[in-house]
Symmetry: C2
């Protein structure tokens, strides 16, 4: 991996969004783009875009802009989207299955097992992915060197399930349970807050339709 | 609704996150907080916090900070989280059912129907929510004055389903399909990009574990 300077959390949060837009331009067969044009599409200022991307070495060129192909490659490298990440899902209910379906379409993720507490699910396969008992998770992670554990349980089981992931030595947790997990500081966690986007929507609806 | 000045997209995006943190403090029975303390928790600078919240009238007080109770109330008002929003879900598969389950636990949303194309689902109830035919959606929206349509279909049906929502006069679309919908400019849409948080996670994993 490239040597990069200390980058702020806010910049890192924006990088996946840059990559998404850049890949979209790539699909549309755009070759290069200026920070001004990118600013129009993404809604960040051109100077913010230049500043953000400068954090990772200046792959823009004055008067030419950014080469889409190489910017995509750089962003993918920075985001660690090179090889494959092994993944397990804790919770084989609707959400777990939806996430399983989602990741099966993603190139850098290899879902190897799901886990649940429900005896009717344990031992079966869901879309070819075996479902195992929560109790076996820590051992399974160790044995199979699992990178990412996805928490798709309800609120009530989330903390306990997270502790099993950590016990097994999981590298990162992708948490969908609507609760702040109480974890050691060095554990990498990304929480998905569905309410954030839903509440952006209610903001716009209430403004446009003048609801009281 | 309060009269507010023109506020940037970026600020609006941050508001749900402010509300989330403020409500968390409220649950922990904190009465007030300074912008500096809030900065420590949220990772924004104190001056950014003051600037953001000033957009909506200065409800912080010098030397006292923000009153949690009233900040929560103000943020909820701004975000339109007062009355109820009627909601339908397009797509009654795993994702649709997971979102149905999620919204059933939220106070401001009233899920009244799901819609699908699958004849085995049409006509039944899933957790007491009736499933109807996609073809009936536009009519249903008009008749029941539905506010929010959630798209939980696969990529392939998302565009067509979105057009039906618009035909019915939906106020806002919450889109989970991993595709950029091609919609009239005045339609309010929030896209949920699961990959953004997943790729933040891979960034941190690749950095910490020095994967190549």
């Amino acid at each position: 991996m490239k040597d990069v300077k200390q980058v702020s959390k806010a910049v890192i949060k924006r990088l996946p969004r840059y990559r998404r837009y850049i890949r979209d331009l790539k699909r549309k067969e755009v070759d290069r783009i200026s920070s001004n044009e990118l600013s129009n599409i993404m809604g960040y200022t051109a100077s913010q875009i230049r500043q953000d991307l400068n954090n990772f070495g200046g792959f823009g060129q004055q008067g030419y802009g950014y080469n889409i192909e190489s910017l995509d490659e750089e962003l993918s490298n920075i985001l660690g989207l090179t090889g494959k990440y092994t993944m397990i899902i804790m919770g084989a209910g609707n959400l777990g299955q939806a996430i399983a379906n989602y990741t099966s379409q993603r190139e850098h993720f290899n879902l190897v097992s799901m886990f649940d507490i429900n005896p009717r699910l344990i031992g079966i396969k869901l879309n070819e992915i075996p479902v195992r008992d929560y109790d076996e998770a820590a051992e399974f992670i160790k044995k199979n060197n699992i990178d990412i554990g996805v928490i798709c349980t309800g609120k009530r089981n989330a903390q306990q399930v997270a502790e099993r992931l950590i016990e097994g030595g999981i590298k990162g947790i992708w948490n969908f349970a609507p609760i702040d997990l109480d974890l050691p500081e060095d554990i990498l966690v990304e929480n998905v807050h569905l309410s954030d986007s839903l509440h952006s929507l209610t903001y716009h609806i209430s403004k446009k339709y003048d609801r009281e």
